[in-house]
């Protein structure tokens, strides 16, 4: 039989140790030896054989079964699991070669491939034996470290698998600590596992452990708890809701509370606090990007956190606790910024916070401002600056409040002693402070025209008498700008701490002048400003950023310029640019800046890695970016600028650049014209003689001609400019409509001319129409006149006949009989009466005809009365009275 063979085989190896295996007293020791061999055997084969032997002995012998039970099968399991741990942990001292197979990872791969193995391991967690549970957890942790995804998937498919693991958190301390590490690995980037953990009550357990361990004062276990907590909340809206709605943020916020010795910050305490700040940051970040309700969740988290008084604790850490390490203070500031940004109530809440003890209370914002101005750490400056940036964002009222506190006494602040900065000269201190204040001011002014106007009113008393009379703040800033560059030159070391002063002051100026013609006006009011700026743009010693921002500022002087006085209008700025800098290199400066790392580096401000045990140590000791050796090259911008120039500013610059490009093109295509072109003025005036008209048009054309000449000249400058950069023309990818702008202008003039001649042609045609109409009326009139003449002739002949008849009647009356006389008379009367009647009818008709014609003639402007008079007199030809043609 096979079994017997194995036994006999085994005997060959360890047979001499065991004499008579059938005696019951020896069964115990035999089993024990076998067990010992299993756990301590040097050769793998020995152990395997011992295992097989044990199997057969137990199967055959009753006493052996008893012995095994008495000695504890767990020893066996314990041995097996412990072996597994060793098999999965890389041997640290062995130097591994790169191509060599990593046995540890290979083993874990083999082991985790079968879900059954994982299931078996999880079931071991319910064993009573401490070591079995302990080693099993270690095996699982090792497996997770080597093949996390496979193990995460396997555990999800095992019913109650995660429940068992979470239960380990309530186990005795050693097991609990192992379980924390295991669960931290398990929950990394595994949303479903995170949720199940929370379903199983992980939050409560974590907070109870943290409390037990002493909160932030606790040891590394607290850090492990917080790391697990962060894994459960990171991008997981569901878990965030659960924490907020059913457990509340109180237990979390209470970890921030400084207890006991507020002046002692051990490294562990610092790390713990950084971890909690990270937790708060995660809550402020909300769920995953894909979640449509993300913004709502974030807002609710912000609201509830502030309701639970997180701001007080953060201000304590960031502002009031003088002993808190820089990293903690910075973290607190970042959280404050995130808490308030875009959140009305929280903004108001921060604005109404007061710090300090009576009677020296002051608004929290004041304290933060003072930190900005005084701190010796660039990191802290950036973090505190972030609070102001967040405060001013989309907060017009807040900006106004801050702007209203701008009263001309800033040097009371700069005079405050900066003990730490003994190695800086007074000039540098002033510059540093001005630069930091400038940064804050740029937030106050951003997109807020009222604040900009308000700031324009500020006049500064000069700190040093030599500086002269009071000057506007804006001018003072330009002075600081110039001072910063001269300082640089003098030291010979271009990258003293001042190297970010210029970009930040320029940032303020660019923000200030944007969309604010009065600021542009104030800036250009002093002539040297423009000259200085033009020089700065072409200054080879200045950094990419400085030159780019200076170019932006110049561009703003063009596009936001409403001035009309020559020398300060947009046109003269453009001329200054094209003559002193050249348009092509001007635009090149803008492009260069946008391509620089400060503008192109990834912006989502908080893309830092999650805190883990391995990287917290470094973070906790995070100090300032070393100013001396962080960068060595001349002409490079300070790395801190990358965080100062946030995505909004980068976008702003991007849009501004487009605006400047368009604005300058527009200036060239619609030049300020000496001759105003009004179509109406091109027409001949009513009582203007043709000669005058021609003269006027001529002078107009002459003016236009000279203007075209101007344009041709400017075009030549531009062409020269293009030719100069022609070699590297590829860098200028965008089309340059400038060259064509004159052509456009000439085209417009030509079109105007064409239009005018067309108008004249049309007028001429209209005139001949009227002429022909007049002549047709003339002929009509003549015809009517002749009609009238024939009528009056007929009337005359009738009257003549009547006269003849009357004479005849008279003759008859004298000679013959009365009867005949009477008869004849009667007859004649009858006849003449009828004839008269006819005549009267005829006359009436004629009369109405005349009336009608008179009316028509009157309409045509004929002198009807005159005409008719003629007819009455002699019926002769009416005088002709025609219109002049």
């Amino acid at each position: 039989m096979k079994k017997m063979d194995l036994v006999s085989g085994y005997k060959g190896v360890v047979g001499l140790v065991f004499g008579n295996e059938n005696s019951s007293s020896n069964d115990d020791s035999y089993v024990e030896r076998l067990l010992d061999c299993i756990s301590n055997g040097k050769l793998a084969e020995d152990r395997r054989n011992a295992m097989a032997e044990l199997q057969s002995v137990v199967a055959e012998s009753h006493t052996a079964q008893l012995a095994l039970g008495a000695m504890g099968a767990y020893k066996l399991v314990r041995g097996a699991v412990e072996t597994l741990v060793s098999a999965l942990t890389p041997v640290t001292h062995a130097k591994s070669h790169k191509n060599e197979v990593q046995p540890a990872s290979m083993n874990s791969d083999l082991l985790s491939r079968d879900e059954q193995n994982i299931s078996l391991l999880l079931s071991l967690l319910s064993e009573d034996d401490f070591y079995v549970r302990y080693y099993t957890l270690q095996v699982l942790t090792a497996l997770l470290a080597n093949s996390p995804i496979r193990l995460q998937e396997a555990i999800l498919t095992i019913p109650r698998g995660i429940t068992r693991l979470v239960d380990m958190l309530m186990d005795r301390e050693v097991i609990r600590n192992e379980a924390l590490l295991l669960l931290t690995y398990l929950t990394r980037e595994a949303e479903e596992i995170q949720k199940i953990l929370v379903f199983e009550g992980a939050f409560e357990k974590i907070f109870s452990i943290i409390k037990e361990e002493g909160g932030s004062e606790g040891g590394v276990v607290v850090q492990d708890c917080l790391e697990l907590l962060n894994n459960l909340l990171r991008n997981n809206a569901s878990n965030q809701v659960l924490l907020r709605e059913t457990i509340g943020f109180d237990s979390l916020i209470s970890i921030l509370k400084l207890r006991g010795s507020t002046y002692s910050f051990t490294q562990q305490k610092t790390i713990n606090l950084l971890c909690v700040l990270e937790t708060i940051r995660l809550l402020l970040n909300g769920g995953s990007e894909a979640d449509p309700a993300k913004d709502v969740e974030r807002l609710t988290n912000k609201t509830v956190l502030v309701q639970r008084k997180v701001l007080d604790h953060l201000l304590m850490l960031g502002v009031e606790s003088q002993w808190a390490p820089v990293a903690v203070r910075c973290g607190a500031f970042r959280c404050i910024g995130d808490l308030i940004v875009g959140h009305r109530q929280n903004l108001d809440n921060l604005a109404s916070k007061f710090l300090g003890d009576e009677p020296q209370v002051e608004p929290a914002l004041n304290s933060i401002l003072r930190i900005i101005l005084r701190t010796s750490s660039i990191q802290e400056f950036i973090a505190a600056d972030y609070v102001f940036k967040s405060f001013c964002e989309e907060n017009t009222d807040g900006q106004k409040i801050l702007a209203s506190t701008l009263i001309p006494q800033p040097f009371s602040m700069t005079h405050a002693p900066l003990e730490e900065d003994v190695n800086m000269s007074f000039g540098s201190v002033v510059l540093q402070t001005s630069c930091r204040a400038a940064s804050v001011l740029s937030y106050v002014l951003k997109d807020n025209i009222q604040s900009k106007e308000k700031a324009l009113q500020i006049e500064l008393e000069s700190p040093m008498p030599s500086f002269g009379s009071p000057e506007p703040l804006l001018h003072h800033l330009v002075k600081c700008l110039a001072l910063a560059s001269s300082k640089k030159g003098k030291d010979g070391k271009p990258n003293t701490p001042n190297s970010y002063v210029q970009p930040i002051i320029l940032k303020l100026l660019v923000t200030w002048l944007s969309d604010c013609p009065s600021a542009v006006h104030s800036f250009l009011a002093s002539r040297p400003h423009l000259t200085y700026l033009v020089e700065l743009v072409s200054n080879g010693d200045a950094t990419v950023c400085v030159r780019g921002l200076a170019a932006m500022l110049l561009g703003e002087c063009v596009i936001f310029n409403k001035a009309i006085e020559s020398g300060k209008d947009a046109f003269s700025v453009v001329d200054a640019i094209s003559q002193k800098v050249g348009l092509a290199s001007f635009f090149l400066r803008l492009d260069e800046m946008q391509k620089s790392f400060i503008f192109s580096s990834p912006k989502p401000a908080q893309c830092h890695k999650p805190l883990t045990r391995s990287n917290t140590d470094i973070r906790a000791e995070m100090e300032d970016i070393e100013e001396e050796d962080a960068y060595e090259h001349k002409n490079e911008d300070h790395p801190m600028l990358a965080s100062m120039f946030d995505s909004q500013f980068v976008n702003f610059i991007k849009n501004l650049k487009i605006g400047i490009r368009d604005g300058i093109v527009k200036i060239y295509s619609h030049p300020k014209s000496n001759v105003s072109v009004m179509p109406a003025e091109l027409e001949q005036r009513k009582d203007e003689a043709d000669v005058d008209y021609i003269k006027r048009l001529k002078s107009f054309l002459e003016k236009q001609c000279s203007e075209i000449q101007d344009l041709v000249n400017r075009n030549a400058t531009l062409a020269e400019d293009v030719a100069n950069t022609g070699g590297g023309g590829s860098s200028q990818t965008e089309p340059r409509p400038n060259g064509g702008s004159e052509r456009v202008q000439i085209e417009t003039l030509r079109r105007d001319l064409q239009e005018t001649s067309q108008r004249i042609e049309m007028l001429r045609r209209e005139k001949s129409n009227i002429e022909s109409e007049a002549s047709s009326y003339k002929t009509l009139c003549a015809k009517t006149e002749s009609d009238l003449k024939s009528l009056s002739d007929a009337y005359n002949s009738v009257e003549e006949a009547n006269h003849r008849w009357e004479n005849e009647v008279k003759a008859l009356k004298n000679g013959d009989i009365e009867a005949i006389k009477a008869e004849a008379k009667e007859e004649a009367e009858k006849e003449s009466e009828a004839e008269l009647g006819d005549l009267l009818v005829c006359l009436g008709q004629e009369q109405s005809k005349v009336e009608k014609l008179s009316g028509r003639l009157m309409e045509l402007g004929e002198d009807v009365d005159g005409l008719l008079q003629g007819i009455g007199d002699d019926g002769g030809a009416p005088e002709e009275d025609e219109d002049d043609i």
């Binding site: 034996d129 019913p159 186990d171 949720k195 409560e204 109870s208 809701v241 059913t246 457990i247």
Partner: protein, 213 residues
């Protein structure tokens, strides 16, 4: 955050029967006609009052799709109540009830209270499962039954609250050993809950599992 008891619920049933809408109606009192497919599980919470005691409901809304079954099963055992939902206009969702129930019986604790809900009862004209059939099924399997509409909110409150009432009664009747192992039944005892050795304390911290061996 103070409550006398905290009950954990799960909502299960075929995909598209309106589980997420029921939860949204209960927690937010609103209806969303178009709802994304639930991935894994989603969480919701609300406070209710039973017998003048504040009771916190933690509700896990699970994905109905088969591919998420292994994940959603992890939530069965730790739940005190389950809402098993079908759609009265889709016969097949009713036909699948038996397999859902089997799953629940296999993975959940034996004392889990199950409420059967025929959802979408506002769509009576498209009804494919009669109320009687629902009642019959519930009776056969010892479930509480209710027809509801997440859209009109009809019976939504009742479904969640009646389930809680049943669990509460089970506690009063001593079905659970709440002073000891409440959390494994999906119940936590808060302030004002049943007095016991750990009555005033957080349920979880009292559940110190086999510490030493």
């Amino acid at each position: 955050m103070s409550y006398a008891y905290l009950f954990k619920y799960i909502i299960i049933g075929d995909t598209g029967v309106g589980k997420s809408c029921l939860l949204l109606q209960f927690t937010d009192k609103r209806f969303q006609p178009v709802h994304d497919l639930t991935i894994g599980v989603e969480f919701g919470a609300r406070m209710i009052t039973i017998d003048n005691k504040p009771i916190k409901l933690q509700i896990w809304d699970t994905a109905g799709q088969e591919s998420f079954r292994s994940i959603t099963r992890s939530y069965y055992r730790g739940a005190a109540g389950a809402l098993l939902v079908y759609d009265i206009t889709r016969r097949e969702t009713f036909n699948h009830l038996a397999s859902w129930l089997e799953d629940a019986r296999q993975h959940a604790n034996a004392n889990m209270t199950i409420m059967l809900i025929g959802n979408k009862c506002d769509l009576a004209h498209r009804r494919a499962v009669s109320t009687e059939e629902g009642e019959q099924f519930a009776k056969e399997h010892g479930l509480i039954f209710m027809e509801a509409s997440a859209k009109t909110a009809q019976n939504v409150e009742e479904a969640f609250i009646n389930t809680a009432g049943t669990i509460y009664k089970k506690i009063q009747d001593g079905v659970f050993d709440v002073s000891n192992e409440a959390s494994s039944y999906g119940i936590k005892v808060g302030y004002g809950g049943i007095p016991g050795p750990s009555g005033g304390r957080d349920g979880s911290s009292s559940q110190a599992g086999g510490c030493c061996s």
